[in-house]
């Protein structure tokens, strides 16, 4: 048992485990911000009365929801960088990092859009009718009446999307981000195959610790902020 714990201590001193988790958390943070923005715009497009916007929003969601994230992230690295030479920074690692953020955001925006749309569905039709009756047109009605309630109704699915995003940030390795957890775990197992199981548990438990509070938090929030009807 002593060996087991000293093994853990050794791993922590030899490898920057917390740093790798921090990279995933940062990736998640930026991708979450970007996908929340993009997803809200897409949701607005899908619920708007303008047919071409509806069509574009639906096409976006259908395409990105059904494409594996691995393809999107491989695309950023192999195509945007290698083929098209779109460099975001002098520093290669920074470029790959922001590509990963972009890929994660583009993919999860489709799910954010659907989460918000499911929130819109919780708003009774009468509210929209009332909004129109007092003379609000589409955008003011959406902004002042529908969306504030829709976001409250969307907290649980948005939380699910956030958890998925956090876990999916490990796929950033497909966009050549070499400092995040899945890359580090692989390196650690390569050099310390004797501690293989301990290394896996270390990372797995790390994610459990990150994910469970998000789940509990968003459940609590969604119940607290639920519009009582």
């Amino acid at each position: 048992m002593d060996d087991f714990f000293s093994g853990f201590a050794e791993l922590f001193t030899q490898y920057d485990v917390l740093g790798a988790f921090w990279v995933n958390i940062q990736l998640t943070f930026w991708a979450a911000l970007l996908s929340l923005f993009l997803g809200t715009v897409l949701a607005l497009m899908r619920i708007s009365p303008i047919a071409s916007l509806q069509w574009a929003g639906t096409a976006y969601v259908t395409i990105f929801r059904n494409t594996p994230l691995t393809i999107i992230l491989t695309f950023t690295y192999l195509v945007l960088f290698s083929q098209l030479g779109l460099s975001l920074s002098e520093n290669l690692n920074t470029t790959f990092y922001w590509y990963a953020v972009l890929g994660l955001a583009v993919y999860h925006a489709a799910f954010v859009c659907e989460a918000i749309r499911s929130g819109v569905n919780t708003v009774p039709v009468g509210q929209a009718e009332a909004a129109r009756a007092i003379g609000l047109s589409f955008l003011p009605a959406a902004r002042m009446v529908i969306l504030p309630q829709a976001f409250r109704g969307a907290i649980a699915p948005l939380g699910n999307t956030l958890i998925a995003l956090l876990k999916n940030s490990t796929v950033a390795v497909a966009a050549s981000v070499a400092t995040e957890t899945s890359s580090l775990m692989r390196t650690m197992i390569e050099f310390r195959p004797d501690l293989m199981v301990a290394i896996f548990l270390l990372f797995a438990v790390g994610f459990v610790i990150l994910v469970i509070p998000i789940g509990l938090g968003t459940t609590w929030l969604s119940q607290r902020l639920a519009v009582k009807r």
Binding site: N160, I163, V197, F207, V208, I212
Partner: protein, 298 residues
């Protein structure tokens, strides 16, 4: 539906405004697409040979189809395994034995929270070091990781499915003298399984998408074969587009099937049929099935 919440039949003024907006929006969307196209054109991505090599008969014969076969093979094994895992641990979570219930709960919550990729990499390296008798170790790693994650999601679906049944069903079982586990097995579970069938079909989308993670441990699935093709032909954009389209079509068909199934089965069970979300996250099942017992969102 959502689109009708915000507006209803439009009058003449709103119709004109919508029509104008429609044209402007269409022009804006097309302009965006045209801009992307022009950038790609300048970079020479529309060179005919690049596309020809990406859709040629040889590309399909030697790269895409073998890759697709491997993708479908891993998805098939993973789905069968995940359903077995899910039913066992789903029943475990509903058990009246506290120990069984908590062990199942820990297993399910654990495997839902751990990224599938971490599991895949771990099992790949674990099998390589400890189980060299397994001949196809990348395949085994992909399948085991997918079973553990998707099995846990299905376990939650089982639990939520049973939770969504009318209470009277269980009470009736007890009233005619069945034990609680008999009631679960012979009355509640069959109905819950019917109700969750569409959600399982949706979950297949997740299995298929996640099988593309196998590329990272060099399992020769569809994405991996596209990469090999593109390093030979220097056409990653074209090869990835072809592969993405294949995935989109298969997954879209599955989503459509889940939708039809949900409609079809809604009259066959007392529980609510749900399509599931196909999102690939630990909480979608609990969160969306809704009304399931317990803290469904963790």
């Amino acid at each position: 539906m959502s689109s009708s919440v915000l507006f209803d039949a439009q009058g003449p003024r709103a119709r004109t405004a919508s029509a104008i907006g429609n044209v402007i929006a269409a022009v804006a969307v097309l302009a965006g697409l045209a801009w992307i196209t022009s950038v790609l054109y300048e970079k020479g991505q529309f060179a005919p040979t690049l596309w020809q090599n990406a859709v040629s008969a040889e590309a399909w014969q030697f790269y895409y189809l073998p890759g697709l076969q491997n993708t479908l093979r891993s998805a098939l094994f993973a789905t069968v395994g995940a359903i077995a895992f899910g039913v066992i641990f789903g029943i475990g979570r509903l058990s009246h034995n506290r120990a069984v219930r908590s062990v199942s709960g820990v297993v399910v919550e654990f495997f839902r929270a751990v990224p599938v990729l971490l599991m895949m990499i771990f099992f790949y390296m674990f099998f390589s070091a400890q189980a060299q008798w397994i001949s196809d170790r990348p395949f085994a790693a992909v399948v085991v990781a997918l079973i553990l994650y998707n099995g846990s999601v299905i376990a939650e679906l089982v639990r939520a499915g049973v939770g969504n049944l009318p209470k009277g069903q269980g009470e009736a079982g007890l009233a005619i003298g069945l034990t609680r586990s008999q009631t679960l097995r012979s009355i509640q579970l069959p109905q819950a399984l019917v109700a969750m069938l569409p959600a399982i079909v949706s979950q297949l989308v997740v299995v298929l998408k996640d099988s593309a993670l196998g590329q990272i441990i060099l399992y020769p699935e569809l994405l991996r074969s596209a990469q090999i093709l593109s390093s030979k032909e220097q056409n990653p954009l074209q090869a990835l587009v072809v592969v993405a389209i294949v995935f989109i079509i298969i997954n879209w068909l599955l989503t459509f099937a889940a939708h039809r199934l949900a409609k079809l089965l809604s009259s066959r069970t007392a529980g609510a049929t749900v399509e599931g979300t196909g999102i690939g996250n630990p909480t979608a099942a609990g969160g969306f099935v809704g009304g399931g017992p317990g803290p469904t969102a963790t």
